[in-house]
């Protein structure tokens, strides 16, 4: 029985880069705990000497030659979703990175 407490939810929210309200933290703590409860039944399955499956096709190392080709996407197309102004202060980006690294 794994009950996720608020501090665990806060940790997970940080890993997920999601800002949660206090109500959300409480709600998700209950809901996620019940889901984890359910999936924990896998511990009953004997998987000794069983290989994990990451991809069902069994394909490995699907590569191609490093050749350049036209993308078919024009410069105009690429700008379709660019915001009118990029509003990111470089100083705050650096400060934020420094903050994350020092943790």
């Amino acid at each position: 029985m794994s009950k996720l407490d608020i501090s665990q939810i806060e940790h997970i929210a940080k890993l997920s880069r999601l800002k949660l309200t206090d109500e959300e933290k409480k709600l998700y703590s209950e809901q996620l705990s019940s889901v984890l409860d359910y999936v924990e039944q896998l511990s009953l399955v004997d998987t000794k000497d069983v290989e994990p499956t990451a991809n069902i096709t069994g394909l490995k190392n699907v590569l191609r030659e490093d050749e350049v080709e036209e993308s078919g996407i024009s410069h105009e197309d690429i700008k379709l979703n660019a915001q009118k102004k990029a509003v990111l202060n470089l100083k705050t980006v650096i400060l934020s990175c420094q903050e994350s690294l020092s943790k």
Partner: protein
């Protein structure tokens, strides 16, 4: 009969005989949409101008004897998870509310290259996460101020996540549609809406340009009025794509040629685990009658057991959220989509990490947040082995078990869902009970197996207010029967 009620096969024949034009067909579809869409709410975006343009181009090609394929001129509805160049694509989320793709997904590109016509983008559960279309951020049904409703009974959900596509087909608001299936998202809504929905073998159809949910499980498939139509569409959707490294190089047969073969001697497996506790007795009865019908056509019924299949749901609810947490990391308020920055001005700049966490918190719905967090947890240090790696190992066992069973039978028949379509709001506040409704469709996905949902009968008399009309020839009535055919097919 109204032109919008035709199947792909029927419409294709009438077009070929020049009895109708693609413009007439497309206009009939839009007339139907005008009549019932305010109740059904299948579409997030309608493309009438573009559709008529494509239809006129098709008629022009036909006049000059230059048609591209048997689906040239056929109006198709597309789940709003496929990137359609220049046509808004939202994944039913606020985070992509104004997103205009700069390229076309491979599956839709193949349809347009075959001459098909785009009607519009259908509603879905947000980022394909859900089994009822209720998690969509868009209220598409205007009359009821809700998301998509089941055309057979407007108080019921259409299923999900491809609920919009299923409803559009069932209500004849298109000739056919396409959707995606990660844990049952084509088959379950197909079952709830009484249409055919097919999930092909993993790798059969390219996933390039399809907004990713769980990359090792997602598959694109047709949602149609008849099984034959699914076979026709599958041919055009399938094939190797250099842009999808998981796509299969196997040849694409003319699937429609395999329809209506004699099934004498075909071995059908009935797994006892799918017919036990939790199965609605009315659904059970419908399936039993369908199996009897198959027997009378010459099929041989074999009792089988799939003891590991019951763990497939737990496997799915570990692996899928893990992959989701990775795939949705790109929505960061920087690259594209909703950003919290828009609300600020340059003088009030924020810490980068806050830009991420606020943008995402503002843009994602609660189901998306739940699954991202579940995924982050099962992949995190200290829990990876117990959850993620364990689930991958059980996945191997699920696959091995199916392989063994398929040495004894050609197909497996089960109900698609344990209950008929449920009512709005019934499961939305209890995520786990919503997840449990996937228990019968989910096993096919981690195993990569093809599976089809075919209507087998009604559980109750359908009550319609707005009516999808009587089924045309070749169509059965409602409710689910699930086939999990052998890969060989």
């Amino acid at each position: 009969m109204n032109l919008n009620e035709l199947t792909i096969k029927e419409a294709s024949e009438k077009l070929a005989k020049k009895e109708i034009t693609s413009v007439e067909l497309t206009e009939a579809v839009f007339n139907r949409i005008d009549k019932v869409e305010s109740k059904v709410g299948a579409y997030i975006t309608l493309c009438k101008e573009k559709a008529l343009e494509m239809a006129r181009a098709s008629d022009e090609r036909r006049k000059n004897n230059k048609i591209l394929s048997e689906i040239d001129g056929i109006p198709i509805a597309v789940k709003d998870l496929f990137l359609t160049k220049g046509v808004r694509t939202t994944a039913a989320s606020k985070i992509l509310e104004d997103f205009l793709p700069i390229n076309e997904s491979t599956p839709t590109k193949k349809l347009w290259e075959a001459g098909a016509v785009l009607i519009g983008k259908t509603n879905l559960d947000q980022f394909a996460m859900g089994s009822s279309t209720e998690t969509s951020a868009y209220k598409t049904s205007k009359e009821f101020d809700s998301t998509t409703r089941n055309p057979w009974n407007l108080e019921n959900v259409p299923g999900g996540s491809s609920g919009g596509s299923a409803a559009a087909v069932a209500a004849d608001e298109c000739i056919a549609a396409i959707g995606t299936d990660t844990g049952g998202s084509i088959r379950q809504p197909a079952s709830f809406c009484g249409i055919t929905g097919l999930k092909p073998t993993y790798g059969r159809v390219s996933r390039f340009g399809v907004i990713a949910m769980a990359s090792s499980l997602d598959q694109v498939g047709p949602m149609t009025k008849t099984v034959e139509d699914s076979a026709i569409l599958l041919k055009y959707l399938s094939g190797w794509d250099k842009y999808d490294s998981t796509s299969s190089k196997k040849d694409v047969p003319d699937y429609a040629k395999s329809i209506n073969r004699n099934i004498k001697g075909l071995k059908i497996g009935i797994p006892k685990e799918f017919f036990g506790e939790g199965l609605d007795p009315k659904v059970n009865k419908v399936i039993e009658e369908a199996v009897e019908q198959l027997k009378s056509l010459g099929a041989e019924v074999v009792d089988i057991s799939l003891p590991t299949a019951k763990y497939a749901l737990a496997v799915y609810y570990i692996l899928m959220p893990a992959e989701v947490s990775s795939n949705l990391a790109r929505f960061d308020g920087i690259r594209y989509g909703h950003s919290t920055i828009k609300k600020q001005d340059a003088s009030n700049s924020q810490i980068l990490e806050e830009v991420y966490s606020k943008s995402r918190a503002e843009g994602f719905g609660s189901e998306a947040k739940r699954r991202i967090m579940l995924g982050s947890y099962v992949l995190s240090a200290g829990y990876y082995d117990a959850y993620y790696k364990k689930a991958q190992k059980v996945r191997t066992l699920v696959k091995k078990e199916f392989d063994q069973v398929f040495s004894k039978v050609d197909l497996i028949v089960t109900p698609v869902t344990p209950t008929p379509a449920f009512k709005f709001g019934e499961k939305v506040s209890d995520p786990l009970s919503m997840y449990l409704s996937d228990v019968m469709t989910v096993p096919a996905n981690p195993a990569g197996l093809p599976a089809i949902s075919i209507p087998a009968g009604f559980t109750d008399a359908a009550s319609t207010k707005g009516g999808a009309g009587a089924p045309a020839s070749g169509r059965y009535s409602n409710r689910g029967e699930g086939f999990i055919p052998d890969k060989r097919r």
